[in-house]
Subunit: 224 residues, 2 copies
Amino acid sequence: MPRRRASHSMESVITEAVAILDEAGSAALTFRALAGRLGGGVASIYWYVDNKEELLDRATDHVIGDVLGDIARREATEDPIEDLRTSAVMLFDAVTARPWLASYLLRNTDLQPNALRLYEHLGQQVMRLDLPPRETFHALSAVIGYVIGTAADLGQQPPAEVLEGQTTREEYLGRYAERWRESDPQDYPFLHYVVEEFDGHQDADQFSAGLDLVLAGLRLQADR
Amino acid sequence: MPRRRASHSMESVITEAVAILDEAGSAALTFRALAGRLGGGVASIYWYVDNKEELLDRATDHVIGDVLGDIARREATEDPIEDLRTSAVMLFDAVTARPWLASYLLRNTDLQPNALRLYEHLGQQVMRLDLPPRETFHALSAVIGYVIGTAADLGQQPPAEVLEGQTTREEYLGRYAERWRESDPQDYPFLHYVVEEFDGHQDADQFSAGLDLVLAGLRLQADR
DNA sequence: ACCTGAACACCGTTCAAGT
DNA sequence: ACCTGAACACCGTTCAAGT
């Protein structure tokens, strides 16, 4: 008995694409897998999106819509940098939870209106520092670059073994730390100096500390 | 007449892989293209590397070897932060010139000994600030995260049309700027405030300004 | 307007066989 | 020890045909 003619919608296509990405990561999102989930044929998807790039841009914007909602709902405090910090951490957490996001976020704002709104929202917080346009633009670029860049970096870190649950993140870090300890202290004084910090560190702490440096620099500039 | 039996070497495999990456980008590096360049069969490459991941890790480390040489050759000044800045800019320039680098750099230091040496070298400059291990580790993480993250971000920016020479970067930025100007100033005050800075901006300036923020924050921490 | 199966031109990777 | 062609199991994308 042949399958009945399926019926989709842009909404369902994007929702199911996000579901695949969340459950199994970037590599698992194929047109065939998506079609299977939607209960239809592969070619149907091409009626909604022109190609895979557009599919990923739309999937990205879809989840950024939620993130933007969470970020925008927060009340502003009297300290713009504190608000910027809160937003940056929320964005970082969202990207960390969905490592596939980092590679596509803000790539094409035509297909990502929510990402553009997020950009605007963060920019408005920087504007409150009353810096000239150039410094304002650069400050937001720095914060966004740091957040997305670091999240992308950390997001791709865990190799297959960790993802498959054969090893924990701690063991994985520990193995690397062990190699650092075995290196020649003459040649690698830095590795030896920081190895105990590296071993067992939390990505979120590392991110947070770096963000504080950027924001401290920004505060200095704003107070001048 | 059948082709003569080809003879490769790890060196030639990696060199030609880098050549393909430099000339035509990430997508152009296929085992078939590489085999064609080496004048042999596809399967031969698998005698040298286990899979494509290893090929890319080795290609990355190969070019990082040169970058490390350039960076390490510079004389140290009396200001560690100035030296860190110089190194960071050199690394950024190298990654910008080879956008494919960003995604693989420091991904697997077992296969990237030069990348580990580069990490150590930058770390040693941070060490001169005499911060405790934790702050030292976080400071280097922040700088590396910012440099690689921003370079990766900027490196993927130009869409196909620009790469194919159908449009210049300026026109591309200009088209986006035009859309910013057409947006509602009530809803997008930030876009309007910075649009003239965005239009025609140089990536290197944007990077440099953000790096200054990170380093200003670091200097503040070191002087405490 | 929307969906379909089948085909096309690619991939990375494996393998049994050669030199 | 090193190289080979052919095959395998996948991809994204297209297309002519259906409803």
